[in-house]
């Protein structure tokens, strides 16, 4: 049975959402959950659930807690006994196969990288976002915020990691991989995309060249790589636009009765779309390239989001994604790409 270490004190609704999510996951997914946090607080919460003693759940004590206000550096350097760090350490020490946290994203990334370490060959771990498309199949965007000012070699590694994730976890066969740029031709784009283009051409992936911002939702590409600054802007622009639409639709539809009904229906569609955009709502964003796996949830995560993140963490470890990443990067290194 796979074991997942969950930062029980991470999110805005901690430890309530975390404990409920852990109970649901342990009860239905066939995984063991280590709830990491202040023992008495977590135990009190856990005792709300009848029959929790029969579930594969254990509490691991950690005396400190990283807040949303803490800088990543402070979290890593001074809070040595934080729930976040102890959970990550459980993975490093082989007591768990995956780490899940809804805490401060910057602090989770820094902690996982330093404590668990990176997969051999990986230059920089990358945060992956999953976006819905008109075609129905999801597209993955790497990186959505872990690394700004990327080097071309980093984009090539993001392509390898995204390709392997898409095949193994999303079950895409021969995923189409593109570079987010402006203009489709090889010479279009900025310094980074132009330098990355030939590197991606040489990889053993189905590289389809440059794609544009509009292609993220078009369903014509499965994996898109970009600098984390660009990826984060694309994600945030999308979230802002959905909110704008909701207001726009309300205004244009509320004037008539059928419009009101239409608005009620469309609001549901928009809300569900908004949730799919908010990557962590449906299971968290994997930080690709760290040993043992790390799934980062939104701070606002509810119990369902936490349960799904535990599922993704288990799928990730079970799918041998990291092993394949290591092998492929080793092969590329030997080939001198």
């Amino acid at each position: 049975m796979l074991t997942i270490a969950l930062d029980a004190m991470g999110g805005d609704h901690a430890p309530k959402a975390e404990v409920e999510g852990a109970v649901r996951a342990a009860g239905t997914l066939g995984v063991k959950v280590l709830l990491v946090g202040q023992q008495d607080v977590v135990r009190r919460e856990l005792e709300q659930y009848d029959g929790y003693r029969d579930l594969p759940i254990e509490i691991v004590h950690a005396s400190e807690r990283v807040t949303m206000e803490d800088s990543a550096a402070k979290a890593v350097q001074t809070k040595r006994d934080s729930s976040m760090r102890v959970a990550s350490r459980l993975v490093r020490d082989g007591c768990a196969q995956g780490f899940v946290s809804a805490g401060n994203t910057g602090a989770v990334m820094a902690t996982a990288k330093i404590v668990q370490g990176v997969v051999p060959g990986v230059k920089r771990p990358a945060l992956m976002g999953i976006f819905p498309t008109v075609a129905g199949n999801p597209v993955v965007l790497v990186d959505v915020g872990a690394n700004v000012d990327c080097k071309p070699e980093m984009l090539a590694q993001f392509a390898v990691m995204g390709d392997i994730y898409s095949r193994n976890i999303l079950r895409r066969t021969n995923p189409r991989v593109g570079i987010l740029s402006i203009g489709e031709e090889e010479h279009k784009g900025n310094e980074l995309t132009r330098a990355a283009f030939p590197l991606l051409k040489d990889l053993h992936i189905n590289f389809i060249g440059n794609v544009e911002g509009g292609d993220i939702y078009g369903g014509t590409v499965d994996v898109i790589v970009c600098d984390g600054f660009i990826g984060n802007v694309a994600l945030k622009v999308s979230e802002g636009l959905v909110d704008m639409f909701k207001k726009l639709l309300r205004e244009s539809l509320e004037a008539t009765i059928s419009g009101k009904i239409g608005y009620a229906l469309s609001k549901n569609a928009l809300n569900s779309f908004r949730k799919r955009l908010d990557y962590s709502e449906y299971g968290g964003a994997p930080l690709l390239g760290v040993r043992g796996g790390c799934i980062i949830c939104h701070g606002r995560s509810n119990a369902n989001a936490i349960k799904n993140a535990i599922r993704v963490a288990a799928e990730f470890s079970g799918g041998k994604v990291n092993q394949q990443i290591e092998e492929e990067l080793l092969r590329i290194g030997k080939a001198g790409v």
Copy 2:
């Protein structure tokens, strides 16, 4: 009376849309229009309109035409008698006060920059996009594609130009100016935004710091500066998302009668929003920082879009935007900013 030089052979519907747009503009806006293109073709089109002889319209002959397939370099270097270049030259020579084209965007930018030249003090002209917001007031984004790999000093100049445009043409008082970044704090962002931040702080503008992608549509900022690569991605992501929504809404609403009516209503709202996103649909995007002004329209522009672009070109020249840009950049240069 202001005179605007219009590239009559630029857009996908040229010269039909251009000629009709010129007739409407000359008939209602109190501006004179120079229609630049193959004389016989343009004249034949113009003769469709009764009373065109009484309007302030003149045809200026140009034997060549830049196509959408031509590279910017080719357009500039080899097509010396293109309608685009002749129109730009009319501005340089003082025969017109503004240049409007719906032709190949890259070629228009290169032509205007080389033929008309830049406003003294301007390092690089920038393409400005106007975005709708939930609050109703439009926000301007500079740059949306003219310059990739910007230097910090360029973002500072974009801020000065966007601020002056917002005050003079959009009539915003004390426009709020922000840098598009990830995270609000000064130290958040990439190398470019961090280096640009202190430069913008020293300008005589209402600098509100970093804004995020979601703020573009929030109505809490009036002018946003960014590298042209980022700006273009933000624009294209937005366009793609609107198209995605239309499909999503159709699917979720068409199942019921009231849903169908709601969809018909919401489709109109989305289509009108899509047009507002498509900056050129409502008057073209100004290329800020070129002498005499240059308004770039979308290739698909219809007569109404062309008419509006002529209006914007006239407002731009009449508003003394360039004069103020020159004065402000001179002041900054002297102050050693």
